[in-house]
């Protein structure tokens, strides 16, 4: 299994290089650079040229990319052009914020959604199923930032239950931290419940069609027992794969949610970096996000046999 994991990681290297090269090129194609923003409306051409030279932006794109790649291989992702911070620790600290919210939201959503989806599948085409699916569909139809704004307006401003902006890390003050992330987590949870319920239902329907379920029923097992013993465990594994995909997507940054709730997360860092033409930050964030994507997918694949009785049996 270790060999498999290593193999997968090595195979992902070309993908990562491709992504970073594309990002590098695309960022250079976008008009404007850090110098333009730094000098604003008084950019004397000579001064701008001097600054570009000092930042190494006057060299050819290929040389710049080569140098960046060389440093990246050695674990040095450069420094932000906006505030001169090293990119890797910056991305890591922002990632903590994103990860906290995403893990909390997906965990809660999964706990709610998997039983809901299973029940819906089990009672397929009844009123209960219809209600669950419609509810889930409605939830995933709501634009996340709109939901977030409405929540902010209602719970933050009208009722004043939670602070409306800012972020406190859990290591500083766990209670306060929880207060600050409750709304973003709630927003994300609601939407993910919509997505995961439908996924869990589909997975459970597949399982219910399998022969051993029919077999178990034929043996005269009570329906609730069939559900608990056979359907739920077997529907869990495919749902896990889907949760993996969801996590991979979300961990890359939930820029919109982070913007609404002013959280210093990874997605916000990337978006701000793009607007500020902060090449090293965009470059570094993208590599980081792509790596997360690869690693999460790998972990899900590796975890699969542990949860799927069918795979272990064979």
């Amino acid at each position: 299994m270790l060999r498999y994991a290593l193999n997968r990681l090595i195979l992902s290297v070309p993908t990562l290089i491709l992504v970073s090269a594309a990002v590098f090129l695309l960022m250079r194609l976008v008009p404007g650079d850090p110098v333009v923003l730094m000098l604003g409306d008084q950019a004397d051409p000579q001064q701008a040229a001097d600054m570009r030279a000092a930042m190494g932006l006057d060299r050819s794109v290929f040389v710049q990319y080569g140098l960046w790649l060389l440093h990246a291989v050695n674990g040095d992702l450069g420094r932000s052009t906006t505030n001169d911070l090293p990119v890797l620790p910056l991305a890591l600290s922002r990632f903590q914020v994103t990860a906290t919210i995403v893990f909390a939201a997906v965990a809660i959503a999964a706990v709610v959604a998997i039983p809901l989806g299973t029940v819906a599948a089990w009672r397929q085409n009844t009123k209960a199923d219809f209600a669950i699916v419609s509810g889930a569909t409605l939830l995933l139809s709501i634009p996340s930032f709109w939901l977030g704004l409405l929540m902010l307006l209602f719970f933050g401003l009208k009722l004043g239950w939670v602070p409306v902006v800012g972020y406190v890390s859990f290591s500083e003050d766990a209670f306060k931290a929880a207060l600050y992330i409750v709304l973003p987590v709630a927003t994300l949870t609601l939407i993910e419940i919509g997505i995961l319920t439908r996924m869990a239902r589909a997975a459970a329907i597949d399982v219910l069609r399998l022969e051993y379920v029919a077999h178990a029923r034929a043996k005269g097992l009570r329906e609730s027992r069939v559900l608990r013993r056979h359907v739920l465990p077997n529907a869990f594994a495919p749902t896990l794969t889907l949760i993996g995909i969801v996590l991979g997507n979300l961990l890359g940054g939930v820029a919109v949610i982070e913007t609404v709730f002013t959280l210093p997360g990874l997605g916000r860092l990337l978006v701000d970096g793009i607007y500020a033409r902060d090449y090293p930050v965009v470059q570094g964030c993208m590599l980081f996000i792509a790596t997360i994507y690869v690693v999460v997918n790998l972990l899900v694949d590796l975890a699969y046999p542990f949860f799927d009785p069918r795979v272990t049996a064979s």
Partner: protein, 273 residues
């Protein structure tokens, strides 16, 4: 019994999507007022008999903009899906049919595209194409193409070994002809189902991009950029964000319900995604 949900889904979905399409179509011939006409003395008026859904921050009629916005949103989402389907199908067909190193290279590119953030793509394309809705369409199309490619490739891989494909080859038809005549039509069902979902994603994505300032450039209204522009007035002029927000949510609900119905109809064995 099984038909009940299906029919209810199909019915509600059709009504909601139909209403959107109707609004979009009607906006071409008629809107209550000019959706672009600025009236600075009529800013932020609440809904009334004169302005059914109120006016926005520069005094434009919100209802007229919702109508025109339906058209723009539908067009942007529709064309984006079309682009994704064309590009993705091509990639998926080629990869699935030729297999070998071509498959590996194409799927490598595919994975790279999947890991790419839509926002950077949108910004980059906006720079290349210029700020217009075409940039968004292309960006969304490119962003969704990999998913299409995966589905089509999967379908092709499973279909190409089936008897009728073998039969076509054995009677001497060329690979290209076989692909065109026998493989492609059989990828249609999963594609239609996926395209329906993607249409919903595209409407949602356009609104999110607008929110981050990268959507369809104003003043042309889309629901997304109306919602984004309404942001500062959430408290003082709630109608500004309620109207487009509800429109997006209801249309998406319709698209998803319709998608479910279609899936049950066309592709009963496929897992819901």
């Amino acid at each position: 019994m099984p038909r009940i949900r299906l029919r209810a889904n199909a019915l509600i979905g059709s009504i909601l999507v139909g209403a959107t399409l109707l609004l979009a179509a009607a906006s071409i011939v008629w809107t209550p007022r000019n959706p672009l006409a600025v009236a600075l003395r009529q800013r932020l008026k609440p809904p009334s008999a004169e302005f059914w859904l109120g006016t926005d921050e520069v005094g434009r009629d919100v209802f007229s903009r919702i109508m025109t916005g339906a058209g723009t949103s539908v067009m942007v989402a529709g064309l984006a899906v079309l682009a994704a389907v064309l590009l993705g199908s091509l990639l998926g067909l080629v990869a699935g049919f030729l297999r070998g190193w071509v498959d590996r290279v194409l799927m490598g590119i595919n994975d790279a595209l999947l890991a790419f953030p839509g926002i950077l793509l949108a910004l980059g394309l906006m720079a290349v194409i210029g700020a217009s809705q075409w940039g968004i369409i292309l960006a969304l199309g490119l962003a969704y193409a990999p998913t299409v490619a995966r589905v089509v490739r999967g379908a092709v891989l499973s279909i190409r070994e089936r008897e009728f494909v073998e039969a076509s080859r054995s009677i001497g038809n060329s690979e290209g002809y076989t692909m065109w005549r026998h493989v492609m039509p059989n990828t249609a069902s999963p594609l239609i189902v996926l395209a329906t979902s993607m249409f919903g994603w595209a409407i949602l994505a356009e609104s999110a991009l607008s929110f981050l300032g990268l959507g369809v450039p104003p003043p042309a209204p889309t629901w997304g950029n109306m919602l984004a522009a309404a942001r500062p007035y959430m408290e003082s002029a709630i109608w500004l964000s309620l109207a487009p927000g509800l429109c997006i949510a209801l249309t998406l609900l319709g698209v998803n319900l319709l998608g479910d119905a279609l899936r049950d109809r066309l592709d009963p064995r496929s897992a819901e995604r």
